[in-house]
Amino acid sequence: MINKKVNSVSEATKGISDNMTFMLGGFGLSGIPENAIAALVKSGVKGLTCISNNAGVDDFGLGLLLHQKQIKKMVSSYVGENDEFERQMLSGELDVELIPQGTLAERCRAAQAGFPAVFTPAGYGTEVAEGKETREFDGKMYVLEHAFKADFAFVKAWKGDAAGNLVFKGTARNFNPCMAGAAKITVAEVEELVPVGALDPNQIHIPGIFVQRIFQGEKYEKRIEQRTVRTRE
Protein backbone atom coordinates (compact mmCIF):
# COMPACT_ATOMS: atom_id res chain seq x y z
CA MET A 1 0.00 0.00 0.00
CA ILE A 2 1.34 3.39 -0.99
CA ASN A 3 0.60 5.77 1.83
CA LYS A 4 -1.03 9.08 0.81
CA LYS A 5 -2.05 10.16 4.28
CA VAL A 6 -0.91 13.55 5.53
CA ASN A 7 -1.47 14.70 9.08
CA SER A 8 -2.84 18.16 8.59
CA VAL A 9 -4.48 20.44 6.10
CA SER A 10 -1.33 22.60 6.07
CA GLU A 11 0.73 19.57 5.05
CA ALA A 12 -1.93 18.78 2.43
CA THR A 13 -1.70 22.25 0.90
CA LYS A 14 2.12 22.40 0.91
CA GLY A 15 3.46 23.86 -2.33
CA ILE A 16 0.58 26.20 -3.11
CA SER A 17 1.68 29.62 -4.30
CA ASP A 18 0.43 32.80 -5.95
CA ASN A 19 -0.92 32.67 -9.52
CA MET A 20 -1.57 28.93 -9.49
CA THR A 21 -4.59 27.23 -11.06
CA PHE A 22 -6.78 25.16 -8.74
CA MET A 23 -9.67 22.81 -9.38
CA LEU A 24 -12.22 22.64 -6.58
CA GLY A 25 -14.99 20.06 -6.38
CA GLY A 26 -18.58 20.71 -5.34
CA PHE A 27 -21.97 21.70 -6.72
CA GLY A 28 -23.30 24.76 -4.98
CA LEU A 29 -22.10 24.20 -1.43
CA SER A 30 -22.59 20.44 -1.63
CA GLY A 31 -19.39 18.40 -1.63
CA ILE A 32 -17.00 21.36 -1.48
CA PRO A 33 -13.53 20.88 0.08
CA GLU A 34 -14.34 23.04 3.12
CA ASN A 35 -11.10 22.43 4.98
CA ALA A 36 -8.83 23.06 1.98
CA ILE A 37 -10.70 26.30 1.20
CA ALA A 38 -10.23 27.46 4.80
CA ALA A 39 -6.49 26.72 4.50
CA LEU A 40 -6.26 28.64 1.20
CA VAL A 41 -7.95 31.64 2.80
CA LYS A 42 -5.57 31.45 5.76
CA SER A 43 -2.50 31.10 3.52
CA GLY A 44 -3.29 34.35 1.71
CA VAL A 45 -2.23 32.98 -1.72
CA LYS A 46 -3.49 35.30 -4.43
CA GLY A 47 -3.82 35.73 -8.17
CA LEU A 48 -5.53 32.36 -8.30
CA THR A 49 -7.40 30.84 -11.21
CA CYS A 50 -10.15 28.64 -9.80
CA ILE A 51 -11.98 26.00 -11.81
CA SER A 52 -15.18 25.21 -9.95
CA ASN A 53 -18.78 24.74 -11.09
CA ASN A 54 -19.96 27.51 -8.77
CA ALA A 55 -18.35 30.31 -6.78
CA GLY A 56 -19.84 29.71 -3.35
CA VAL A 57 -22.05 32.20 -1.53
CA ASP A 58 -21.01 35.51 -0.02
CA ASP A 59 -19.80 34.11 3.29
CA PHE A 60 -18.99 30.47 2.52
CA GLY A 61 -17.16 28.25 0.07
CA LEU A 62 -15.21 30.08 -2.64
CA GLY A 63 -17.01 33.26 -1.57
CA LEU A 64 -14.46 33.40 1.26
CA LEU A 65 -11.56 33.53 -1.23
CA LEU A 66 -13.41 36.07 -3.38
CA HIS A 67 -14.01 38.24 -0.37
CA GLN A 68 -10.23 38.38 0.29
CA LYS A 69 -9.68 39.14 -3.42
CA GLN A 70 -7.43 36.08 -3.75
CA ILE A 71 -9.03 34.98 -7.01
CA LYS A 72 -7.96 36.53 -10.31
CA LYS A 73 -10.04 34.34 -12.58
CA MET A 74 -12.99 31.98 -12.17
CA VAL A 75 -13.91 29.22 -14.60
CA SER A 76 -17.48 28.18 -13.75
CA SER A 77 -20.86 27.30 -15.24
CA TYR A 78 -23.15 29.10 -12.79
CA VAL A 79 -22.39 31.89 -10.36
CA GLY A 80 -25.86 33.11 -9.47
CA GLU A 81 -25.79 33.01 -5.69
CA ASN A 82 -22.95 35.37 -4.95
CA ASP A 83 -23.41 39.18 -4.83
CA GLU A 84 -19.71 39.91 -4.25
CA PHE A 85 -18.87 37.75 -7.25
CA GLU A 86 -21.31 39.64 -9.46
CA ARG A 87 -19.94 42.97 -8.22
CA GLN A 88 -16.29 41.99 -8.92
CA MET A 89 -17.23 40.58 -12.32
CA LEU A 90 -19.29 43.57 -13.52
CA SER A 91 -16.61 46.00 -12.27
CA GLY A 92 -13.93 44.07 -14.13
CA GLU A 93 -11.86 43.20 -11.03
CA LEU A 94 -12.49 39.53 -11.62
CA ASP A 95 -11.96 37.68 -14.88
CA VAL A 96 -14.72 35.14 -15.46
CA GLU A 97 -14.95 32.37 -18.03
CA LEU A 98 -18.45 30.90 -18.06
CA ILE A 99 -18.66 27.51 -19.75
CA PRO A 100 -21.37 24.86 -20.05
CA GLN A 101 -21.56 22.55 -17.05
CA GLY A 102 -21.07 19.37 -19.06
CA THR A 103 -18.09 20.94 -20.82
CA LEU A 104 -16.58 21.84 -17.44
CA ALA A 105 -16.95 18.24 -16.29
CA GLU A 106 -15.53 16.84 -19.51
CA ARG A 107 -12.54 19.23 -19.60
CA CYS A 108 -11.68 17.92 -16.13
CA ARG A 109 -12.21 14.34 -17.17
CA ALA A 110 -10.12 14.85 -20.32
CA ALA A 111 -7.23 16.09 -18.16
CA GLN A 112 -7.69 13.10 -15.87
CA ALA A 113 -7.88 10.62 -18.73
CA GLY A 114 -5.13 11.95 -20.99
CA PHE A 115 -7.22 13.47 -23.76
CA PRO A 116 -5.88 16.84 -24.97
CA ALA A 117 -9.33 17.98 -26.05
CA VAL A 118 -12.85 16.78 -26.76
CA PHE A 119 -15.57 17.72 -29.25
CA THR A 120 -18.90 18.65 -27.69
CA PRO A 121 -22.13 19.92 -29.24
CA ALA A 122 -22.69 22.21 -26.24
CA GLY A 123 -22.37 25.89 -27.05
CA TYR A 124 -22.20 25.54 -30.82
CA GLY A 125 -23.56 28.70 -32.44
CA THR A 126 -23.28 30.67 -29.18
CA GLU A 127 -20.64 33.05 -27.82
CA VAL A 128 -19.09 30.09 -25.95
CA ALA A 129 -17.84 28.76 -29.29
CA GLU A 130 -16.33 32.05 -30.48
CA GLY A 131 -12.71 31.60 -31.56
CA LYS A 132 -12.83 27.84 -31.09
CA GLU A 133 -12.40 25.15 -33.71
CA THR A 134 -15.69 23.60 -34.84
CA ARG A 135 -16.24 20.48 -36.86
CA GLU A 136 -19.07 18.50 -38.38
CA PHE A 137 -19.62 14.85 -37.52
CA ASP A 138 -22.55 13.01 -39.14
CA GLY A 139 -24.29 16.25 -40.02
CA LYS A 140 -24.06 17.82 -36.57
CA MET A 141 -21.72 20.60 -35.45
CA TYR A 142 -19.33 20.29 -32.50
CA VAL A 143 -16.93 22.60 -30.64
CA LEU A 144 -13.38 21.61 -29.68
CA GLU A 145 -12.81 22.11 -25.96
CA HIS A 146 -9.37 21.64 -24.41
CA ALA A 147 -8.46 19.69 -21.29
CA PHE A 148 -7.79 21.86 -18.26
CA LYS A 149 -4.27 22.28 -16.91
CA ALA A 150 -4.21 22.77 -13.15
CA ASP A 151 -1.61 22.75 -10.38
CA PHE A 152 -3.81 21.38 -7.63
CA ALA A 153 -7.19 19.65 -7.48
CA PHE A 154 -8.97 19.90 -4.12
CA VAL A 155 -11.66 17.27 -3.81
CA LYS A 156 -13.92 16.17 -1.00
CA ALA A 157 -15.23 12.66 -0.37
CA TRP A 158 -17.32 11.00 2.32
CA LYS A 159 -14.91 8.22 3.23
CA GLY A 160 -11.37 7.42 2.25
CA ASP A 161 -8.32 5.44 3.31
CA ALA A 162 -4.56 6.05 3.46
CA ALA A 163 -4.20 4.45 0.02
CA GLY A 164 -6.17 7.39 -1.35
CA ASN A 165 -9.28 5.40 -2.22
CA LEU A 166 -12.45 7.49 -2.13
CA VAL A 167 -16.16 6.89 -1.60
CA PHE A 168 -18.69 9.69 -2.11
CA LYS A 169 -22.15 10.22 -0.71
CA GLY A 170 -25.29 11.39 -2.54
CA THR A 171 -25.04 14.36 -4.87
CA ALA A 172 -21.98 15.59 -2.93
CA ARG A 173 -20.12 13.44 -5.48
CA ASN A 174 -20.69 15.83 -8.45
CA PHE A 175 -17.38 17.18 -9.89
CA ASN A 176 -15.11 15.60 -7.29
CA PRO A 177 -14.47 12.31 -9.14
CA CYS A 178 -13.86 14.19 -12.41
CA MET A 179 -11.21 16.41 -10.81
CA ALA A 180 -9.33 13.67 -8.94
CA GLY A 181 -6.16 13.07 -10.93
CA ALA A 182 -6.89 15.97 -13.30
CA ALA A 183 -4.24 18.28 -11.78
CA LYS A 184 -0.53 17.88 -11.01
CA ILE A 185 -1.38 17.21 -7.37
CA THR A 186 -4.74 16.00 -6.08
CA VAL A 187 -5.57 16.66 -2.45
CA ALA A 188 -8.52 14.71 -1.10
CA GLU A 189 -10.23 15.55 2.16
CA VAL A 190 -12.70 13.13 3.70
CA GLU A 191 -15.24 13.20 6.50
CA GLU A 192 -13.95 9.89 7.72
CA LEU A 193 -10.52 8.36 7.12
CA VAL A 194 -11.02 4.63 7.66
CA PRO A 195 -8.32 1.94 8.14
CA VAL A 196 -6.85 0.48 4.95
CA GLY A 197 -8.85 -2.62 4.07
CA ALA A 198 -12.07 -1.34 5.61
CA LEU A 199 -13.44 -0.15 2.27
CA ASP A 200 -14.79 -2.88 -0.03
CA PRO A 201 -12.71 -2.71 -3.27
CA ASN A 202 -15.96 -3.31 -5.20
CA GLN A 203 -17.48 -0.14 -3.82
CA ILE A 204 -14.64 2.36 -4.34
CA HIS A 205 -15.63 5.28 -6.58
CA ILE A 206 -12.14 6.73 -7.14
CA PRO A 207 -9.04 4.51 -6.84
CA GLY A 208 -6.13 5.89 -4.82
CA ILE A 209 -3.88 6.22 -7.88
CA PHE A 210 -5.62 9.52 -8.68
CA VAL A 211 -4.89 10.98 -5.24
CA GLN A 212 -1.51 12.25 -3.95
CA ARG A 213 -2.53 13.47 -0.48
CA ILE A 214 -5.44 12.56 1.76
CA PHE A 215 -6.55 13.82 5.15
CA GLN A 216 -9.57 13.80 7.40
CA GLY A 217 -11.18 17.23 7.61
CA GLU A 218 -11.27 18.73 11.07
CA LYS A 219 -14.94 19.66 10.78
CA TYR A 220 -17.68 19.97 8.18
CA GLU A 221 -20.37 22.61 8.29
CA LYS A 222 -22.15 21.22 5.18
CA ARG A 223 -24.32 24.26 4.74
CA ILE A 224 -27.62 23.90 2.86
CA GLU A 225 -28.33 26.60 0.27
CA GLN A 226 -32.03 26.01 -0.37
CA ARG A 227 -33.66 24.17 2.50
CA THR A 228 -36.90 22.88 1.00
CA VAL A 229 -39.21 20.59 2.95
CA ARG A 230 -42.78 19.35 2.77
CA THR A 231 -45.12 19.20 5.71
CA ARG A 232 -46.38 15.95 7.13
CA GLU A 233 -50.03 15.35 6.40
Binding site: T126, E127, N176
Partner: protein, 217 residues
Protein backbone atom coordinates in the same frame (compact mmCIF):
# COMPACT_ATOMS: atom_id res chain seq x y z
CA UNK B 1 -54.94 32.43 -19.62
CA UNK B 2 -52.73 30.04 -17.64
CA UNK B 3 -50.68 30.74 -14.55
CA UNK B 4 -47.34 29.02 -13.94
CA UNK B 5 -49.09 25.99 -12.43
CA UNK B 6 -51.32 25.77 -15.50
CA UNK B 7 -48.29 25.75 -17.81
CA UNK B 8 -46.76 22.96 -15.71
CA UNK B 9 -50.02 20.97 -15.84
CA UNK B 10 -50.19 21.25 -19.63
CA UNK B 11 -46.54 20.20 -20.06
CA UNK B 12 -47.08 17.26 -17.71
CA UNK B 13 -49.36 15.80 -20.39
CA UNK B 14 -46.34 15.52 -22.70
CA UNK B 15 -44.56 13.17 -20.30
CA UNK B 16 -44.96 9.56 -21.37
CA UNK B 17 -44.56 6.17 -19.73
CA UNK B 18 -40.91 5.09 -19.52
CA UNK B 19 -39.47 8.57 -19.98
CA UNK B 20 -36.30 9.84 -18.29
CA UNK B 21 -36.92 13.55 -17.84
CA UNK B 22 -34.68 16.50 -16.97
CA UNK B 23 -36.51 19.44 -15.45
CA UNK B 24 -35.02 22.92 -15.39
CA UNK B 25 -35.37 25.44 -12.59
CA UNK B 26 -38.63 27.43 -12.21
CA UNK B 27 -41.88 26.39 -13.93
CA UNK B 28 -40.33 23.08 -15.18
CA UNK B 29 -39.73 21.93 -11.59
CA UNK B 30 -43.50 22.12 -11.00
CA UNK B 31 -44.16 19.64 -13.82
CA UNK B 32 -43.19 16.72 -11.56
CA UNK B 33 -46.26 17.42 -9.40
CA UNK B 34 -48.72 16.87 -12.25
CA UNK B 35 -47.43 13.80 -14.08
CA UNK B 36 -50.10 11.06 -14.24
CA UNK B 37 -49.55 8.55 -11.49
CA UNK B 38 -50.35 5.50 -13.67
CA UNK B 39 -47.09 5.89 -15.65
CA UNK B 40 -43.46 5.27 -14.70
CA UNK B 41 -41.14 8.23 -15.10
CA UNK B 42 -37.71 8.99 -13.64
CA UNK B 43 -36.48 12.52 -13.07
CA UNK B 44 -32.82 13.30 -13.67
CA UNK B 45 -31.03 16.22 -12.08
CA UNK B 46 -27.76 17.17 -13.74
CA UNK B 47 -25.88 17.53 -10.46
CA UNK B 48 -25.90 13.74 -10.30
CA UNK B 49 -29.12 11.96 -9.40
CA UNK B 50 -31.64 9.85 -11.28
CA UNK B 51 -34.89 8.91 -9.56
CA UNK B 52 -35.58 12.12 -7.68
CA UNK B 53 -38.43 12.07 -5.20
CA UNK B 54 -40.33 14.81 -3.39
CA UNK B 55 -38.87 17.32 -0.94
CA UNK B 56 -37.91 15.77 2.43
CA UNK B 57 -40.00 16.11 5.55
CA UNK B 58 -38.91 18.83 7.95
CA UNK B 59 -35.94 17.53 9.92
CA UNK B 60 -35.01 14.87 7.35
CA UNK B 61 -33.17 17.15 4.92
CA UNK B 62 -29.62 16.12 3.97
CA UNK B 63 -26.98 18.60 2.72
CA UNK B 64 -25.53 15.79 0.58
CA UNK B 65 -28.78 15.19 -1.35
CA UNK B 66 -29.86 18.17 -3.44
CA UNK B 67 -31.16 18.93 -6.94
CA UNK B 68 -29.67 21.26 -9.56
CA UNK B 69 -31.54 24.16 -7.97
CA UNK B 70 -29.61 23.39 -4.75
CA UNK B 71 -32.88 22.41 -3.04
CA UNK B 72 -32.90 19.52 -0.60
CA UNK B 73 -34.62 16.48 -2.13
CA UNK B 74 -35.27 12.79 -1.52
CA UNK B 75 -34.75 9.80 -3.78
CA UNK B 76 -37.19 7.05 -4.77
CA UNK B 77 -36.52 3.28 -4.78
CA UNK B 78 -34.32 2.51 -7.80
CA UNK B 79 -32.56 5.88 -7.68
CA UNK B 80 -28.84 6.30 -8.38
CA UNK B 81 -26.12 8.89 -7.80
CA UNK B 82 -23.26 9.61 -10.19
CA UNK B 83 -20.61 12.19 -10.99
CA UNK B 84 -21.03 15.23 -13.24
CA UNK B 85 -19.25 13.69 -16.25
CA UNK B 86 -21.57 10.69 -16.19
CA UNK B 87 -24.57 12.95 -15.68
CA UNK B 88 -23.75 14.83 -18.86
CA UNK B 89 -23.00 11.56 -20.64
CA UNK B 90 -26.68 10.78 -20.03
CA UNK B 91 -27.64 14.17 -21.45
CA UNK B 92 -25.14 14.52 -24.32
CA UNK B 93 -25.49 10.85 -25.19
CA UNK B 94 -29.25 11.35 -25.64
CA UNK B 95 -30.27 8.86 -22.98
CA UNK B 96 -32.60 11.44 -21.42
CA UNK B 97 -35.92 11.39 -23.32
CA UNK B 98 -37.33 14.80 -22.52
CA UNK B 99 -35.87 18.14 -21.42
CA UNK B 100 -38.15 20.84 -20.07
CA UNK B 101 -36.63 24.25 -19.46
CA UNK B 102 -37.45 27.92 -19.16
CA UNK B 103 -36.41 30.68 -21.57
CA UNK B 104 -36.16 34.44 -21.92
CA UNK B 105 -36.62 34.25 -25.69
CA UNK B 106 -37.43 31.61 -28.31
CA UNK B 107 -37.14 32.21 -32.06
CA UNK B 108 -39.08 30.67 -34.92
CA UNK B 109 -35.95 28.85 -36.12
CA UNK B 110 -35.78 27.00 -32.78
CA UNK B 111 -33.05 29.17 -31.23
CA UNK B 112 -33.28 29.74 -27.48
CA UNK B 113 -31.81 32.40 -25.18
CA UNK B 114 -32.01 31.92 -21.42
CA UNK B 115 -28.68 32.57 -19.73
CA UNK B 116 -27.47 36.12 -20.05
CA UNK B 117 -28.62 39.73 -20.29
CA UNK B 118 -25.42 41.61 -21.26
CA UNK B 119 -24.32 44.12 -18.65
CA UNK B 120 -27.16 43.18 -16.31
CA UNK B 121 -27.64 39.60 -15.41
CA UNK B 122 -24.76 37.20 -15.78
CA UNK B 123 -25.40 34.12 -13.75
CA UNK B 124 -24.13 31.54 -16.21
CA UNK B 125 -25.60 28.83 -18.37
CA UNK B 126 -25.21 25.97 -15.91
CA UNK B 127 -26.18 22.81 -17.78
CA UNK B 128 -28.59 24.51 -20.19
CA UNK B 129 -26.21 24.62 -23.18
CA UNK B 130 -25.40 20.92 -22.86
CA UNK B 131 -29.09 20.09 -22.53
CA UNK B 132 -30.31 22.06 -25.53
CA UNK B 133 -27.42 21.02 -27.77
CA UNK B 134 -28.12 17.34 -27.24
CA UNK B 135 -31.73 16.67 -26.35
CA UNK B 136 -33.97 15.40 -29.17
CA UNK B 137 -37.10 16.49 -27.38
CA UNK B 138 -37.05 19.94 -25.81
CA UNK B 139 -40.12 21.71 -24.47
CA UNK B 140 -39.83 25.30 -23.34
CA UNK B 141 -42.02 26.54 -20.49
CA UNK B 142 -42.36 30.31 -20.44
CA UNK B 143 -44.63 33.34 -20.28
CA UNK B 144 -45.62 34.51 -23.77
CA UNK B 145 -44.59 38.13 -23.06
CA UNK B 146 -42.17 39.85 -20.69
CA UNK B 147 -43.06 42.22 -17.85
CA UNK B 148 -43.27 45.13 -20.30
CA UNK B 149 -45.75 43.19 -22.44
CA UNK B 150 -43.24 42.54 -25.23
CA UNK B 151 -43.32 39.21 -27.05
CA UNK B 152 -40.77 36.55 -26.09
CA UNK B 153 -41.81 34.46 -29.13
CA UNK B 154 -39.66 36.06 -31.79
CA UNK B 155 -38.45 36.00 -35.39
CA UNK B 156 -34.86 36.08 -34.10
CA UNK B 157 -33.51 36.10 -30.54
CA UNK B 158 -31.96 39.39 -29.42
CA UNK B 159 -30.17 38.04 -26.33
CA UNK B 160 -27.02 35.85 -26.39
CA UNK B 161 -28.04 32.36 -27.49
CA UNK B 162 -28.05 29.22 -25.38
CA UNK B 163 -28.53 26.93 -28.36
CA UNK B 164 -29.42 27.02 -32.05
CA UNK B 165 -32.33 25.34 -33.82
CA UNK B 166 -33.14 23.08 -30.91
CA UNK B 167 -36.57 23.94 -29.47
CA UNK B 168 -39.41 21.71 -30.68
CA UNK B 169 -42.35 22.91 -28.66
CA UNK B 170 -43.25 25.91 -26.50
CA UNK B 171 -45.96 26.02 -23.83
CA UNK B 172 -46.84 29.51 -22.62
CA UNK B 173 -49.58 31.09 -20.55
CA UNK B 174 -51.43 31.71 -23.84
CA UNK B 175 -50.71 28.83 -26.20
CA UNK B 176 -49.00 25.62 -27.25
CA UNK B 177 -46.72 26.22 -30.23
CA UNK B 178 -44.75 23.83 -32.39
CA UNK B 179 -41.53 25.02 -34.02
CA UNK B 180 -41.68 24.17 -37.76
CA UNK B 181 -39.61 25.08 -40.84
CA UNK B 182 -42.11 27.85 -41.61
CA UNK B 183 -42.51 29.31 -38.12
CA UNK B 184 -44.50 28.75 -34.94
CA UNK B 185 -47.50 26.54 -35.62
CA UNK B 186 -50.33 27.29 -33.21
CA UNK B 187 -51.54 23.98 -31.79
CA UNK B 188 -53.72 24.97 -28.83
CA UNK B 189 -55.13 28.02 -27.10
CA UNK B 190 -55.11 28.46 -23.33
CA UNK B 191 -58.58 28.46 -21.77
CA UNK B 192 -60.38 31.73 -22.51
CA UNK B 193 -57.67 33.04 -24.87
CA UNK B 194 -58.57 33.95 -28.47
CA UNK B 195 -56.43 33.41 -31.57
CA UNK B 196 -56.38 37.21 -31.96
CA UNK B 197 -54.83 37.65 -28.51
CA UNK B 198 -52.15 35.08 -29.33
CA UNK B 199 -51.42 36.81 -32.66
CA UNK B 200 -51.02 40.12 -30.88
CA UNK B 201 -48.60 38.66 -28.34
CA UNK B 202 -46.44 36.85 -30.92
CA UNK B 203 -43.71 38.67 -32.83
CA UNK B 204 -42.48 35.58 -34.70
CA UNK B 205 -44.28 34.07 -37.68
CA UNK B 206 -47.46 32.37 -36.49
CA UNK B 207 -49.04 29.63 -38.56
CA UNK B 208 -52.75 29.18 -37.98
CA UNK B 209 -54.46 26.31 -39.78
CA UNK B 210 -58.17 25.69 -39.28
CA UNK B 211 -59.87 25.81 -35.89
CA UNK B 212 -57.45 25.99 -32.98
CA UNK B 213 -58.69 23.88 -30.05
CA UNK B 214 -58.62 25.05 -26.47
CA UNK B 215 -56.17 23.01 -24.39
CA UNK B 216 -57.47 20.57 -21.81
CA UNK B 217 -55.57 20.30 -18.55
Amino acid sequence: MLDKTGIAKRIAKEVQDGYYVNLGIGIPTLVANYVRDDIEVEFQSENGVLGMGPFPFDGEEDADIINAGKQTITTLPGASFFDSAMSFAMIRGQHVDLTILGAMEVAENGDIANWKIPGKMVKGMGGAMDLVASAENIIVAMMHTNKRGESKILKRCSLPLTGVGCVKKVVTNLAVLEVTDKGFKLLERAPGVSVEEIKKATEGTLIIEGDIPEMSL
